[in-house]
Every structure is written in structure tokens, then in C-alpha cells.
Amino acid sequence: MGATAVQELDKVVIKFAGDSGDGMQLTGTQFTGTSALLGNDIATFPDYPAEIRAPQGTVAGVSGFQVHIGQTHIYTPGDQPDVLVAMNAAALKANINEVPRGKTIIVDTDNFKRKDWEKAGFEEDPLESGLLKDYHVIEAPITSLTRTALEGMGLDNKSITRSKNMFALGMVYWMFSRPLDYTERFLKDKFANKELIYEANVKALKAGYNYAETIEALSSAFTVLPADMEPGLYKNIMGNEATAWGFLAAAEKTGKELFLGSYPITPASDILHEISKHKHFGAKAFQAEDEIAGITSAIGAAFAGDLAITTTSGPGLALKGEALGLAVMTELPLVVVDVQRGGPSTGLPTKTEQSDLMQALYGRNGESPVIVVAAKSPAHCFDMAYTAAKLALEHVTPVVLLTDGYVANGSQPWRIKKVEDLEPIVPHEASKNMLNWQPYERDANTLARYMVYPGTPGYEHRVGGLEKDHLTGNVSYDPQNHEEMVKTREEKVQRVADYIPELEVEGAQEGELLVVGWGGTYGSLTTAVKQCEVQNRPVGHAHFSYIKPLPKNTAEVFSRFKKILVCELNNGQFVKYLRGELPQFEYLQYNKIQGLPFRVAEITREIKKILL
């Protein structure tokens, strides 16, 4: 890119950055939507400020949105931007270290005055200091150009300034040969009742487009051709939205009502927001007084026959531990979604991390096994939410689904599924003519008990948190029964291994090195492994979506490689779990604990180090 630009690009990473109030999230999603419609593969990642709304013009207040578009398959929002749009000095300060030399930077010079760069924490004027000398810099007075464009429309100053993001978007649209109609449609819709604002925005958008075409700075426009994607109907989907939709689909598939008991928490709240909109599908979103009421109301709903879920992030999962144990003891179907964020404690609430794995596995008193699964990308959230619901209902057990801030807020094209085409779900319920049904009678294969819900005459029974008799479910203090029940609950979860897909290896199927990951790091790891392949260093990649139980062939897969490298965004939790479960192997580990996803380059570097 930049000075050595070419007409057709394979993939490109663009980062829009500005002040929280500058509308960068909108700009980013517009560029994403337009590119998706053109058939590119895409991946996005918004990068919110951690602060409420930090003082304008400061680095803490910078909001960014990174989008990666490609004509080949892409799996991450990209390590480093090819184009950075910096709406003010702080946005430049916050992002410049990420942009490789030689790349393009668009700056709004109106916000690079002395007070601006001082506020941003620069010692000297960054446009003068030589900081940008190795970059292809496009200096455009975006704010004043917008102002000029919208003059005389009768708009107030604030509304005019607010349109500058559309000016910037217009510029980038031109650079990458994108049409404007998607965004025009969007604006029409958004400002349906505000004709003037709509017009102003479109005007700014076109002005930016035209400006980019006019000025010399952009010597040529690029394009990214459609990717070679599986045929079908697509839409762009965010991880949290996909999670919500997966549950809605499972509910429709089973004819059950969906009950969500939840308490808002970053970065999980959007699942609650999404499900709140869909009462007409029988979805009940209950915003509880806290996380404990969130999960216990869901347990009550599960007992009464709903598809019951609860959604949260790390601190909330900690609060739910005791009640999750109750669901284990009462053997009720329940899905707990933990959208992981940086910990411990309140930690880095807006940043991503994979550090709740141990908590998901062990964060309860007593021997308290649950199924643990994880989603590997925004669109995969749909599949894993659906699967989690299926496993819970069919195996009559709680399931923890781990996603993280990165996949939850990221977006990806999703090949739209039809409910009809989804795998069937058969909730494990007593048939009406089952003789002598007992509450803790089990299926011989899955060990699932047969559910009966209140309202069914003749099946009145009681459950609870005290140890239960292995058949009647009555309270039992019998020592042998307790041992049997502890083992049965564990075995029930282990038997799920017979019902889940085997572990697949991408890349080399055997050999020197197997790269192992789980959950949201899939994109970075698979990209890295593919790069290594290109560079003639074939390694395998095994990515876990099923953590407890592990896929049945895990040991077999591991045994095909000389070395195993477990990569995680934590201090080594999955690797510790693997050492406990499959102690016969030696594991190398690579960990990053910075609240940020892996960069592809970090992984390839690590792989090279090991293969040397």
C-alpha cells in the first residue's frame, strides 16, 4: 500500500480512529457493510475507550474500529492497519505504533492544532516532527471541508461537525472503489424523520468521495475483489448477536420458549439487548437485580420447562458459581454464557482475555462438573450457542459457553442458516406413558435423567441442592450413594464425548509441531499456521471448541506430533488443564496477557523459534 500502491489488493486492513464522539464505530460498520455486500470476506474489531467518556481529545477518549477485508479468506481483523484514518491528534498518538512504515495515514488537520497535540500527549507537532516521514500521509482539513460543504443548509454547528465522519468515509470509499448506495440507504433509514440531517450526511459523504477523487494525494484507487466464499445468502454478524440468534434458533427448533435471566455487564450486555427485542418468538429476557438472580431465575425456568440461559462476563460468573452448583446437583439443562474480559477483579473490562477457563471448569464448591465449550469467531458464536443449548437439553446438564470480548464485538460474514437445516434437538424428557418414572432414572447411554415439568399430572416431584438418591431423587445421606452420584455426574459429562465432533487438524496432519488453541484465538492461529505453510514450514493446528469433555481423539491427534505448542490469551490455563487430563504429553506454551488478541506475527515468530 501507500506509495507502492497497486490496483488490485488481496486484502486490506483499515482502522478508523477518532474521539468517542466522532462516530468512528458507525464509519467502520458502514465500510464493513458495503464491503460485505461486494462479496469480500471480512473481520472487524471495535476498540472502545475503557473510560466512560474521557475528556475530548485525549488518548483515553479515542474510539477505534478496525476492519479487514479480503478476496481470500480472512480470519482476523488484521494485525496492523494498511490505512489509518486519524480524526484527531489523540487518534494518531493511540495508533501510530501499530501502523507499519510505508502505509497510508489520513489525518484531519483541523484537529492537529497545538492544543490538540498537546492534549494528545505529543511533545511536538506530529505532522512536523518527522514522526510520519516514512508514511504516506494524506493531510485533509476534514472538519472545515465538511463545514464548507454543508454551509447554507440551515443546520446548527453541532450537526454539521457531526457529519465529518461521513466525509472521511466518503474519502475511503473512493480509495477502495466502493459504491455509496449501501450507506445512503442506511442513512435514509436512520434519519427517517430528520430529512435535513439525512441530506447533510449524504452531502458530506459525497463531498468526501469527490474530494478524494480530486486531490492529488491519492494517486490511484485500489480495490479488493470478492472473496471465493461458499455460495449462499450472507449477512454481516457480530459475535454477541450471533450468540443470541443461536439460542433463538434452538428455542424455535425445540418449540420451547427461551428464558434469559441476566444482569448487564460489559462485554456481554449486547446479548441481553438482542434477546430483549424478540418476545414474539417466546423469548423472555428478564433483567434481574444481579447475576445471582439472573442464574437462579434461569434455573427456575429450566425446571419449569423453558430453554434457560444466563449471560455474563467473568465477575458475574464468579457470582453465579454457587447457583451453577445447584444446577449440577438438580441436573437441569442450563446454558451459561461467559463473554470473557481482562481480569482479575474488575480488571480491564473492555479488553479481551481467555482467563476464565479455570473458573468455568472449577469455580464451584464440591465436585461440580459441567460441559465447557467455546466459540472461535463471531459467526461461530451462532453454532456454539445452538450446540450448547442442544447439549444442555439432550444431556440434561448445565453447559458453560465461553466467548470473549474479541469475538463478541467483532463481526464476520455469516452464511445465513435456516432453522429447518439445523441439526435436530431432542430434549430428554419423559414420555407420557413411561412406567414408574423416577426423577433420577437415567438414559443408559447419556446418563441423562428424564425431565418432567410442573403442570404434568401424576409426576409431582421435588428436587433440591442436597445430595440426591440415585433413583428417587429424594435427599440421601448414604455414603455409597454419594460416591456413586459424584462419579455419575462426572461420567455423564464425560460421555458427551460420544456426541461431539472429533478434533480436526488444519495444515500438516502430523510432524514437528502442533499449534493448539481454543476459543477466540482461532483466527490468529489459523492465519499464522497458513502463513507458515506458505513459507514451507508446515505445522498442524488443532483448535478446541469442546473443552470439557475433550474430543475423544485428542490424545491420538497429539501423539502424531513431536511438539505441542498451546497458545492462549492468559497465563496458561488450558495448558494446565491438558497437563492434568493428558499427562502423557509434553506441552510448550505461548501466552499473551495484554487484553489484546494475538497478532499473527507473534504466532509465526513463536513457531519459527520452535522449529529452528
Partner: protein, 339 residues
């Protein structure tokens, strides 16, 4: 398995096969019996009744009821019960809880259930002690009372459950002693009838750790003079010869004796349980001597589940989505054609 018509039920239909395991003499027995006797009269089939509880002696209750039941975890019964009710609003949901369960660890869920007005019938067994854990003070233990965890006497001001319920904008509050089976039964039926959260405080004797704490009210010789049984629409009178009654003096309730100081029958306040303004109900709930029994407040109000249902209907009417398939294909989509 055959079902019975509700009118054919007797109290025996509500006894489960589990052996009842409270201490001999515990007040819980009488409450259990009163509940079992009330059940045939609420007009709900057995299979549509669910008893939910937390943890405590009292919370063992669901095991003894031959209905659906859930013995939950400590303090969380209101949330459990809310989940049950929202999942299936047809069910008659009863919550059994103790003073520790409801007001210590569970205080927040308790006041939030009341605020939302989910149709739950909450029976609060107030023995002013933690029974199951063998005798620590609870949030209702009298100030200065010595227990295992307050060897010098407690220094916490106790909650008055009725005050808290009304302070959380509750619409149904009643109080009764475990020594009054008839009134218990009546009140349980009233609470079942009330749509929305109803709270019944039962002054329950724990023979082991807090024996006779309610004796100043319940002992034979004290009852008439220290318990005032209120009935909607009737003057609030009490006393061995029904000679005493409540009158209002400025902002305060006072006890007056008919015939003394010129007080006549007509001066005695008439109880209005249905008055929306809770000021007088609050005063009644706070009264110490006499202590008020009966239904103190019973005001109709929309339930949470009804409002939820209404939203479902509204959105069903207005939404263009009939299946999630419609949702999935809504908004901007694009087609990738086979190559």
C-alpha cells in the same frame, strides 16, 4: 396416573411420602398442616402447584408437599420462583422462606420480587433465629438478644418484615401466628387469591433455639390483649371483651378503651386493607402492642407477568418476523452465487 378434580382434594392429597423432620414441637408442623388444609380451597390442581424454598429448617417444606417442589439455595428462592412463574404463568407458585433466608442473604431478591409484583405467595417463617445452623441471631432477632453469635446480645436493630415489604412498595402483607391454624388457613387462601406478590409473615416458634419468643403475644393469657386481628371493613378492636380499639391521634395510632374518656364504638378506626395509600398499613405493620394479625394490606395491582404478556402480544401484532428465519434474513444481506 389419574388426576383429581380440585374440589375433591383433602389435605391428605398434599402430604408427600417423605417423613417430616422438624424438631418435635416446632411451629413448622402447624404451618405445614395449615397449608395442606388451605390447598384444596385455592382451586388449583396439584400438578399446577409449585413450592420453592431457600435453605433453613423452614425451607425443607417443599419435600413434605405432594406437589412440584424445589429446595433451592440460601436466599435465592424469590429469583427461583420468579423464573418458574415467568416460564409458566399458569402455575401457582409458593415460596417458603425463613427470616434469615428472606431477610439476611436473600433480602435483595425479596424486595425486588415485591417491587416487580410477580404473582408469588411468599410465606415467611419468622422465628427470629437461624434454626438450621443451630442458633445464630437473624435480621429479625430482638435487639440485645443473646445467641451463639451474640454472646453479649445483638447490637443490630432488627428489621420489621412488614415495614420492609411496604417500604418496597408491596401490595399484600399479612401476619399470623403459628398457634392460630384457622387464621393461617384463611390468610393462605387470601394470599393465593391476591394476584401479585403476597407476603405472609408467620410468627413461628423455634422450640430449640428461641423458645417462647412470641409468648408475650401467643400465650393463652396474652392473646386477647396483645394481638389485634384485623378484618377488612371491620373496626379494629381487640381485648378479652373486645373492649379496646385503635384510634388516630394526630399522626399516631393509639389504643383506646370503649367507654373510657368518652371513646365510643364509632371512634374506632375501620380497617381498609384495599386502600392504595399505604400510610395506615405501614402504621399497623409497625405496631408492637398490640401486634396486628390478619391481612393488613391487600391492594390489587398489575402483575409483572401480565405486563410481559402484554408486550408479547403487542410485538406479535406489530412485528413482521414470524420465524427466526425472517430475522436472520432481515437487514442487509448479500448472495454469493455458485461459481
Amino acid at each position: 396416573m389419574a388426576t383429581t378434580e380440585t374440589q375433591e382434594y383433602t389435605y391428605k392429597d398434599f402430604a408427600s411420602d417423605q417423613e417430616v423432620r422438624w424438631c418435635p414441637g416446632c411451629g413448622d408442623y402447624a404451618i405445614l398442616k395449615a397449608v395442606q388444609r388451605a390447598m384444596p380451597e385455592i382451586g388449583v390442581k396439584k400438578e399446577n402447584i409449585v413450592f420453592v424454598s431457600g435453605i433453613g429448617c423452614s425451607s425443607r417444606f417443599p419435600y413434605y408437599m405432594n406437589t412440584y417442589g424445589f429446595h433451592g439455595i440460601h436466599g435465592r428462592a424469590p429469583a427461583l420462583a420468579t423464573g418458574v412463574k415467568l416460564a409458566n404463568p399458569e402455575l401457582s407458585v409458593w415460596e417458603i422462606t425463613g427470616d434469615g433466608d428472606a431477610l439476611a442473604i436473600g433480602g435483595n431478591h425479596f424486595i425486588h420480587a415485591i417491587r416487580r409484583n410477580v404473582d408469588l405467595n411468599i410465606l415467611l417463617f419468622n422465628n427470629k433465629i437461624y434454626g438450621l445452623t443451630k442458633g445464630q441471631f437473624s435480621p429479625t432477632t430482638d435487639l440485645g438478644f443473646k445467641t451463639k453469635s451474640s454472646p453479649q446480645g445483638t447490637i443490630d436493630n432488627p428489621f420489621n418484615p412488614g415495614e420492609l415489604v411496604i417500604g418496597a412498595s408491596g401490595n399484600f402483607f399479612a401476619r399470623v401466628t403459628d398457634t392460630n391454624p384457622k387464621l393461617m388457613q384463611q390468610i393462605f387462601i387470601e394470599s393465593a387469591k391476591h394476584k401479585g406478590t403476597s407476603v405472609v409473615e408467620i410468627m413461628q416458634n423455634c422450640v430449640i433455639f428461641n423458645d417462647k419468643v412470641f409468648a408475650p403475644y401467643t400465650a393463652k393469657e396474652n392473646r386477647a390483649d396483645h394481638i389485634l386481628e384485623v378484618r377488612h371493613g371491620e373496626p379494629m378492636r381487640f381485648g378479652a371483651n373486645n373492649e379496646k380499639g385503635l384510634v388516630l391521634k394526630g399522626f399516631k395510632l393509639e389504643v383506646a378503651t370503649i367507654g373510657e374518656n368518652g371513646v365510643t364504638e364509632d371512634d374506632i378506626l375501620v380497617h381498609d386493607a384495599h386502600e392504595p395509600d399505604s400510610t395506615l398499613h405501614m402504621m399497623l405493620a409497625k405496631l408492637h402492642d398490640p401486634i396486628v394479625n390478619g391481612v393488613i394490606r391487600d391492594v390489587p395491582a398489575e402483575t409483572f407477568e401480565l405486563r410481559m404478556q402484554r408486550q408479547v402480544e403487542e410485538i406479535e401484532r406489530t412485528s413482521k418476523f414470524k420465524s427466526v428465519n425472517d430475522l436472520f434474513t432481515s437487514g442487509e444481506t448479500w448472495e454469493i452465487k455458485p461459481h
